[in-house]
Amino acid sequence: MSLGTTYPTHWRRPPRMLRDRRWRLVVQGAALVYLVLAVGSLDIEWSRVVEGLARGQAFVEGFLQPDFTSRWGDIRQGLIESLTMTLTATVVGVLISVPIGIGGARNLVPAPVYAVCRTIIAVSRSLQEIIIAIFLVAMFGFGPLAGFMTLSFASIGFIAKLLAEDIEECDVHQIEAVRATGASWWQVLHYAIQPQVMPRLIGLSMYRLDINFRESAVIGIVGAGGIGATLNTAIDRYEYDSAGAILLIVIVIVMLSEYGSSYLRRFLQ
């Protein structure tokens, strides 16, 4: 008894994407051409890189033996600015973004309000923190107030967008049930929407607090106060041990806030 067909003796994994062989070749070829062009345009000055390796080593050493003491006054001032800026900006950002988030939920508001709120969200999200910071420093002068403004503005887009999406995903049955009792728009918001989105809103606020602290370490570079200014100064002076200390402090605080917020979220749910 013989079967007419011969089966291959080796199994080959079928391709997951781009099942047509020709398309695969085209895409792979294009990727290769792009890579060659891109790497070619890098224009690396190897002598400078080799020269810099010694400095890199100095930085790694500074990171391993951080110097907290000699610049402690500056570090402390920067930290206080960063932490206060982070907290106030998160609170104000959440306060502003809650109405905007509600306005950006399609199931609660009429179309014109929706359009306005979504535009605000899009503008806030598309601009980088650091670019906003440049402008706000130009307007409000150097210091943590400009940083506070920047972080508040950036928080609005983030929280309002996620809150709006969360409200849109709310359970319709609960909203209908509350509405069936004759509840007004505000009562629906209070008794049907708020209990459903509150745990997530708190989680988002905690997450944004975390992000705002990380960002506060950056916007100091353009003069908006905070630990970033101290870090920038330390790197400009080639004081890698102080820079290492600052980075370690930032990492530790971010880790603590991450653990803290995950604990708090579990506690609240």
């Binding site: 891109a38 400095r55 670019i131 307007m139 107030l145």
Partner: protein, 277 residues
């Protein structure tokens, strides 16, 4: 017998009016809010101890001034921006590539079900992920410009180092969520540890992997536009020099170009992710 709707034997201690929360919960809530407000006011005081309110009062005038100087954007500056824009795209793409190459082993070491040692190597890998995530790409760029000099390479390395944490974290979570039955099925055929990774785990995480990579590429385009502010090449370099000479129409042009690039990259990334997932 149907249960009666009105239970006459109910104790009288229940409140007659239904309330959302118990008195104790209400009290706790108020104390919590009060504490938050007090903390906010205290932080506000500390933060604004040295604020010059004269400058703040002056802000609307300044804003109007800058706004009027920025308009109209100088479109004749646009051709000059094409080379920096190409550089920016390269920083983002090569940086993502480098970041992903470094993140994949870290993710496999960090995932509970693939790590060689839960006690020793996993915390180390998690630490790498957290450290990379806590330090913004701009700070990485600041450091790298000081170490290997200004230029595109510093930008690429900064983006790559920053991407490790993001890609690593999402990827190791995807690895931990893989279906154990497929792994068992493959190991039942007598597969070695490497074959288990290759045939049971990798196919499960591949869609997530491409999704994460595209997502990070999109974020990296965003971040690489500003790396030039600290000297790491790309369009940010032009932004910095235009701001330094107060050429506001040029600044407006650059910002519009950045905005356009970000929107296009977000659209591409969303389309690709939609096609994969």
């Amino acid at each position: 017998m149907k249960p009666s709707l009105v239970n006459t034997a109910e104790p009288a201690t229940y409140a007659q009016i239904w309330t959302f929360r118990t008195p104790r919960a209400r009290l706790a809530l108020w104390v919590g809010w009060l504490a938050l407000v007090a903390l906010f006011v205290y932080c506000w005081q500390v933060m604004n101890a040295e604020t010059m309110w004269v400058f703040v009062a002056d802000a609307p005038t300044q804003a109007a001034d800058i706004g009027s100087r920025m308009w109209p954007p100088s479109l004749s500056y646009l051709p000059e921006l094409m080379k920096p824009l190409w550089d920016t795209l390269n920083i983002a793409t090569l940086g993502t590539l480098g970041g992903v190459i470094m993140a994949v082993p870290v993710a496999f070491l960090a995932a509970r079900n693939t790590t060689p040692s839960v006690a020793l190597i996993r915390p180390l890998a998690l630490w790498v992920i957290v450290a990379s995530r806590s330090i913004n790409s701009l700070i990485w760029a600041l450091l790298l410009v000081a170490i290997i000099g200004p230029g595109l390479l510093a930008g690429v390395v900064a983006i790559a180092l920053r991407s490790i944490g993001f890609v690593g974290k999402l990827l190791y979570e995807a690895i931990e969520e893989t279906d154990i039955r497929q792994v068992e099925a493959v190991s039942a055929t007598g597969a070695s540890a490497m074959q288990r990774l290759n045939y049971a785990i990798v196919p499960q995480i591949l869609p997530a992997f491409w999704g994460i990579t595209m997502f990070r590429w999109d974020i990296n385009i965003r971040e690489s536009t500003i790396l030039g502010l600290v000297g790491a090449g790309g369009i940010g370099l032009k932004l910095q020099s235009s701001i330094n000479v107060l050429a506001w129409p040029q600044v407006a042009t650059i910002l519009l170009l950045i905005l356009g690039t970000v929107i296009v990259s977000e659209w591409i990334s969303a389309r690709v992710r939609h096609a994969i997932l």
